[in-house]
């Protein structure tokens, strides 16, 4: 009996070993490809933008406000500042909503509420961004022009940093929510019980213990949300106004980096160095998003050392 089985195993063996090696190799190759991707992207963008960098210094390009492609002047300052404005305002709008919703869902709500909310959040996260853009044009822009602007004494079209930020906030809320809910669910119940048993109220427990425990995760979630917001293109482009000027307030129009690239690439490439400039914009975008991600992770590691 045993001998027979052994014989059968020997008979299948040679092919199996070869297959094992082969599949191992495939997997390693695909892994290498995935890991190479960001490097290739970076190299490609750097190569393309290097032509512009030969004649202009990077700092000069970043801090110059003059954008006159016809005369070879490429100042990215207005675009970078616009991007920062919409991103920061979007995060300021989204952060409290996300945090409070998460705390309610994980600490107060009955279990079925969370069960219902999960697919709802996933659906929100999966809606194509162009639909959010349309929503922005139909609802957010008129609301700003007709109601919010006048409250602050502004006569405006509504196409503004604020409109972009509102649309962005709505888009990153499900994204951040998903991460935050996961983080709060991972805090053991016993930690809250320990605090309550010491005579703390529920709110004291949330404020002094749970949020503190979750802090690295909260920061990371906001950091990742921010990098997502920074790169979001189409929905923002549709409502933000796209005027090349350094914005100084939320009611002014702006022109974020992704919108610049999406609006112009392939349009006016006959202008010398224009495509090189757009590639540099992409490169800046790439690096900034990378830095956001990096910073979030660094903060996690640091505060884990401190708290854990």
């Amino acid at each position: 009996m045993v001998n027979k089985t052994l014989q059968r195993v020997r008979r299948i063996r040679p092919g199996r070993l070869l297959q094992d090696t082969l599949h191992g190799l495939w997997m390693r190759l695909t892994l290498a490809l995935v890991m190479l991707l960001p490097v290739l992207l970076f190299a490609g963008m750097y190569y393309k933008s290097s032509m512009l960098l030969q004649t202009n210094s990077l700092l000069e390009l970043i801090f110059s406000g003059e954008w006159k492609p016809m005369s070879g002047k490429f100042g990215f300052y207005p675009f970078i500042i616009s991007s920062l404005w919409v991103t920061v305002v979007a995060l300021l709008l989204a952060a409290p909503i996300c945090l409070l919703t998460t705390i309610h869902l994980t600490q107060y709500a009955r279990r079925w509420v969370l069960r219902v909310m999960h697919p709802v959040i996933d659906i929100l996260a999966g809606i194509p961004s162009v639909i959010y853009g349309v929503f922005g044009i139909l609802v957010v822009v008129p609301a700003i022009a007709d109601y919010i602007g006048p409250v602050f004494g502004k006569q405006i079209s509504g196409y503004s940093i604020l409109a972009g930020a509102v649309v962005l906030a709505i888009m990153i809320i499900p994204f951040i929510l998903n991460i935050l809910i996961e983080i709060f669910k991972n805090i053991p119940d016993e930690l809250a019980e320990a605090s309550l048993a010491l005579g703390a109220t529920k709110w004291q427990t949330i404020k002094l213990v749970l949020i503190k425990k979750a802090l690295p995760g909260i920061i990371a979630a906001f950091g990742l949300g921010m990098s997502r917001a920074f790169g979001e293109t189409i929905a923002v482009l549709m409502v933000v106004g796209n005027v090349t000027r350094v914005p100084t307030g939320i009611f002014q129009p702006g022109y974020p980096l992704p919108a610049l690239i999406a609006n112009n690439y392939g349009e006016m490439l006959s202008i010398p160095l224009y495509d090189s400039a757009l590639m540099l914009a992409a490169l800046i975008l790439f690096v900034v998003v990378l830095l956001f991600n990096f910073a979030s992770r660094l903060i996690i590691i640091q505060s884990e050392k401190r708290v854990a």
Binding site: Y108, A109, R110, R111, P188, D189, E190, L191, A192, E193, A194, S195, L196, A197, L198, G199, A200, T201, Q204, L208, V209, K212, K213, R306, V307, A308
Partner: protein, 252 residues
Amino acid sequence: MDGIKISIENLNLYFGKQHVLKNIDAQIPTNKITVIMGPSGCGKTTLMKSLNRLTDLNPDAHVSGSIFIDGEDILQTKDDITLIRKKMGLLAQRPYPLPMSIYNNIAYGLRISGRRKKKVLDRRVEHYLRQVSLWEEVKDRLKEPAGRLSIGQQQRLCLARGLAVGPEIILADEPTSALDPISSQAIEAQFNILKKNYTIVLVTHILRQARRLADHVIFMYLGEVIEQGSAAQVFENPQQEMTKSYLKGMFY
């Protein structure tokens, strides 16, 4: 038997449709160690958590019956729930230090009860760390995160932080299950000292630990109290068949 600290009458508890505690009647004597024992999943922990109403945290939980503590029914009381909880120190299966420094783990409960003077806090933190014989080990690193202590030290820290809010009862849920033998011994020794001033409720599934520590025993199976009485009576002369077979280590 002298005074009764906690008296549970006709307690029923459901999680949703699941009937977890069934018609519990039990007495817990003052300044003694009462051991609640029984196989896993019999409702020991749930019974203990219902004593300081941590079961309230589960929105699907439904409780009926009475739990009298010093004659007051805590399930019906109009008193602030945090005051009831402060009467009881809680020690969980694993130590869960609060995400803050060693010092603040003890000071947390004190601050919440309104003591904020640094001198008072300093004195109390030292006092309670000494009481659990942790002071000498941590006095030079009070500002460090509590998570850096060893598990055994963490569990003693958790005991100290519970004692710091001045409870009358200590609820301990398998407090040594995550600890090494030496740390377990330290905790058990603490309990024997503490019972002079505190009423201790200890949940355990370690039979030998129950024998070592118990003055009074409640034996549970599948959400019901099968037998209860003094340790001598339950261990030496159990009345119920189920208790007998559990004590012999034969369990279905």
